[in-house]
Subunit: 416 residues, 2 copies
């Protein structure tokens, strides 16, 4: 570990002996509460006296509270949502969103601002994040200790264990920038840094199209193309945090050069920039009447305009949109054969290209995946808005600090 990097162990549910009874009980209350202690006894098979001991510890640690059942006399257990707050930070290529969230991951207050990721220094952006977070805690009259954690997502690969970006192509100067440790020094709470598509998948799991689904694939199609894998309810990051980095899968002709230096990469042939370039060409040559008129009117030839043209029935716009859907769908089909998800959620700017785009993706998947892998497979568009990064980052923190391992640490009596 390099100097200046923060020491926060990510939860490792697979390591033997690390998941704790306190954590298991807390998770049951978080996922299924409010409920009675007897429900926990029934679900865990633990002795009533054991459950009582751990419930007392969790309450003493401020993680759960009792509430009277409406109209009844018996007390039920639930998460103490006002026991703390988490900060979710979503950093994009042009926008920064900082949101104060409760322990359910709902945004209570937020600050949004423009940034220029290609030209601003990491230090400049960090200071703006700190200022926004301080403004949010101040105007909501929160004591520093009320912040249980900070989640931060950014558009590039992340070394999750160390909380640093790793050679992010669209973030010059950020390679191994000690983001987690810098924020930890400012706010003292735990800090978790992740790739934006990963945390968007968490938001889909808890608040979106995959609500409560524990195994699915989130595809983010925008300027870049990425995937978030949710396995057993958790983000699957792979050995180096690079899992889901599907934008550079070979998917098109070798003539198309990608900014990564390779050829025919998925995002070089079907990402937002590729579609904007194809649309600009169709506007210039007049192949698309709709786009040519837009150009004449001085409109920016964007994927959004392309999508509108397709929706209006412009044939060339439709052709470009359908071809882009086919290219993405052909790649997803390979992942479906490999991973056999039951649900694929498509988000990102290109998800707004319209129903024909989604239909083209679906058709390619069904055509090129095995029948068993597509049996009951659902492909749908995200239901979440542009603040998904903030919500997902908050949920990331909640997942981590309320994991089996860490709840165990919080509640372990000093004498044990």
């Amino acid at each position: 570990m390099n100097k200046g990097e923060v020491v926060i162990e990510p939860a490792d549910a697979s390591a033997p002996g690390l998941s704790t009874t306190a954590g298991s009980i807390f998770k049951i209350i978080r996922d299924l509460g409010p409920l009675f202690p007897a429900d926990i006894v029934r679900r865990t098979g633990l002795a009533k006296s054991t459950v009582s001991v751990y419930v007392e510890r969790l309450a003493a640690a401020g993680l759960i509270r009792e509430e009277l059942r409406p109209g009844g006399k018996r007390r039920m257990l639930k998460v103490a949502e006002s026991a703390g707050y988490v900060m979710g930070v979503g950093l994009g290529q042009t926008h920064l969103n900082v949101g104060l969230c409760d322990l359910e991951g709902d945004v209570l207050d937020s600050i949004a601002t423009d940034v220029d990721l290609l030209h601003e220094t990491p230090e400049s952006i960090l200071s703006r994040v700190v200022a926004a977070a301080r403004a949010l805690t101040a105007r909501n009259a929160l004591a520093p200790a009320a912040l249980s954690g900070i989640g931060f997502c950014l558009p590039g690969p992340v070394d999750y264990a160390h909380g640093v970006p790793v050679s992010p192509p669209v973030m010059p100067g950020w390679d191994r920038f000690p983001l987690a440790s810098a924020l930890h020094r400012e706010f003292t709470c735990p800090v978790f840094i992740d790739n934006d598509v990963n945390v968007m998948a968490l938001a889909e799991r808890d608040k979106g199209a995959a609500a409560q689904d524990q195994d699915f694939l989130f595809i983010h199609a925008g300027t870049g193309i990425g995937a978030g894998l949710v396995v057993n309810g958790q983000i699957y990051r792979g050995a180096k945090g690079a899992a889901g980095d599907i934008g550079h899968i070979a998917a098109g002709p070798d003539q198309v050069l990608c900014h990564c230096g390779n050829r025919g990469c998925l995002e070089a042939v079907a990402g937002g920039r590729a579609l904007a370039a194809q649309a600009a060409e169709a506007a210039r040559t007049g192949a698309s009447r709709y786009l040519a008129e837009g150009l004449a009117q001085g409109l920016a030839i964007t994927p959004e305009l392309l999508g509108r043209g397709a929706a209006m029935g412009d044939e060339e716009c439709l052709r470009i949109v359908i071809t882009a859907g086919k290219t993405l769908g052909d790649t997803i089909a390979k992942l479906v054969n490999f991973f056999n998800p039951s649900l694929i959620v498509v988000g990102g700017g290109l998800a707004n290209l319209g129903e024909r785009y989604l239909a083209s993706i679906r058709e390619s998947i069904y055509r090129r995946s095995t029948p068993l892998a597509t049996a009951d497979l659902i492909v749908k568009r995200t239901a979440l808005g542009p603040t998904t990064g903030v919500v997902g980052s908050a949920i990331l923190v909640l997942d981590e600090i309320f994991s089996h391992t860490n709840v165990g640490r919080l509640t372990r009596p000093p004498s044990a």
Copy 2:
């Protein structure tokens, strides 16, 4: 669930409340034993008295035993390996292997026989499996109750929860054949059916090239091409048990028709049959002098002979072998970008094509995957022999019957 299908719940470690303290303690003893009760206290954070209670229950259920430390007075805890046996069955297209294994997954005795999967009925093969298993229990003087479970692997997709094959292409008549329930009726113990590549990955995890690795990819390249995904130490089967079915990923020219009805499938261009056909062509035309001589001598033109030709330096044999490696490597590269494993183990008959084949696979992966995804990635050949299916099937049983959930059931006192 259809009539006649067996009712065995697969372990679901992700379901809240299902993992038990007994199961956690047993897993620690199985993975790390022999060890002292104090080690368990330290690892779990449980009270000494709680650990004592569960250790007593596990011992009473016959799952663990105490042994004196060599030269010492203190007793250590370990799995009671002679407390039971498991049967591992490996069914291939031409061979059937049935092995009696101990609780460590080591083969104590086995019976191998030829089969013809394309022409024999499921009932005929089932009766041969039953006869072999009965012969093994009889000649090892085992009481029926000594068999803790049966694991069975076959070359096709499996509905794991119901223990039935699903439309296996190379097993006519086996679609939804009630294999698990039939074996359960014969032997009364739990029965688990899985795809052969999946259980081979388990064997790699416990006994092979991935020893003790909890996240890796096993690629089986033979007549068919398949993958086994190990995530957090467990087989990832996907929504329908189809995960890892990579043989039908689009990987080659559309002119190549696959037996599945699609075109350009990976196994149609780089599987054992495709290589045998290319080798036969090279023998017939004389493009390969080595193979042409083999043909003249009446040798069968197989992938093995092709591999020998490549090892002898025959240029056309080398070209075919290197091209096959490149095609497989290009597909694996996509999976590496998506899944970011730290280890890939290559097994199956084609893994014997030689070092140039492996080198070609490696080169394609490194060329077409992102630098972060291939940082520290290891690609190696299997170290296991042809009985991997038997060992893997036995390990599958051990994983299931000694899972958190099921150990919890075995050890839960009736009064709780």
